[in-house]
Symmetry: C2
Subunit: 190 residues, 2 copies
Amino acid sequence: MSDQDKLNTFLRKYIPLGNVEDFVESFDVVRKLNKKEFLLEPGQACSYLAFVNKGTFRVFFYDNAGTEVTVWFSFPGMMIGDLLAFFQDSRAIFYVQAVEDGEVRIIAKSKLEELYLKNPEYLQFGRKYAEYVSVNVMQRMLSLQTLSAEERYLELLANPNYMQRIPLKYLASYLGITDTSLSRIRKNIV
Amino acid sequence: MSDQDKLNTFLRKYIPLGNVEDFVESFDVVRKLNKKEFLLEPGQACSYLAFVNKGTFRVFFYDNAGTEVTVWFSFPGMMIGDLLAFFQDSRAIFYVQAVEDGEVRIIAKSKLEELYLKNPEYLQFGRKYAEYVSVNVMQRMLSLQTLSAEERYLELLANPNYMQRIPLKYLASYLGITDTSLSRIRKNIV
DNA sequence: GAATTTTCTTGCCATATGGCAAGAAAGAAA
DNA sequence: TTTCTTTCTTGCCATATGGCAAGAAAATTC
């Protein structure tokens, strides 16, 4: 499946009927990133979203103690960005970084808003995508609220995306634990 | 401020310009609930949202171990409902319960969708509200992921809504800890 | 206001997770 | 390959949170 097709498939989830060609075309900036390179850093304007063509990306920040906290991962066929800032129209709070060499296609928020005005179906996309994000974040919130670290790790194990290519220390902070603890949990499971 | 005005103020946050009268009128079912009464129970159709006129409401469920887990609270001027189900068009997963005597105004999802079709500005509401929910849930997720139970409790302390009227055992499960632990944390702080 | 129910606290001890530092293993660079 | 860097594991011990049960306190009901 071509990159274009992947984006098409993604948009079709939210816009089942109708033409999405000008939407696809509005993702008009392609950016290649090397492993560990930043797509975005805190303080920058982040008035855009990116669609992952290739590679794995992560969103992270440094907490008050200076510890790196991974907030989110994105895999090919998904969007990536600092959604907290994007939705609030603020400057970036997070880093967005390539976990491995990768490529994204970018759409500016201004373009997105033009599309919203042009076509109510595209506006439906805006709503449905935000609803989709809500649902995802709620599920992760619930898992942090109610499951043990081991149970959360087992959830990740069920998704092959997480188990290849991603250093365990990133997964540990994503799970809300230290890499030391994750190492012990893994030892316990096998 | 009248209940009508409260709802108006709420909607204006998302629809700053333009007329919201028919939107307000679509919240056309008023329901009074006694303390501990359920607005919604798991398995029911939950194709509506409620706006809190009076009282405090909470969303909760029973986890695998049979322990009650409070997922969310809503106070006057806010919406309440099983958003996970609402956004996914599924049957209710959660209980929605009055923490104290209260009153809500309800809008059916079907009405909401009529409004979306009628007026693109209302569709903007749908998008912005979902974005607002995303931001809120993300912030809570981050606090669960990165803060200690004590730090999370201190965050709640900063919001007067939580510190009146809500039994500590509900707050404890909202924080992801047992009521016993919350009791000890409180003892430690004072 | 007495009785009943619900909520909150506390003691004792168990388990989960963290902090640090050393070394092993794996991966990247030369 | 060899070297260098990054990541992962482990031991020792500390801290955070949980489980249970009893009693205290508060709220509700009669």
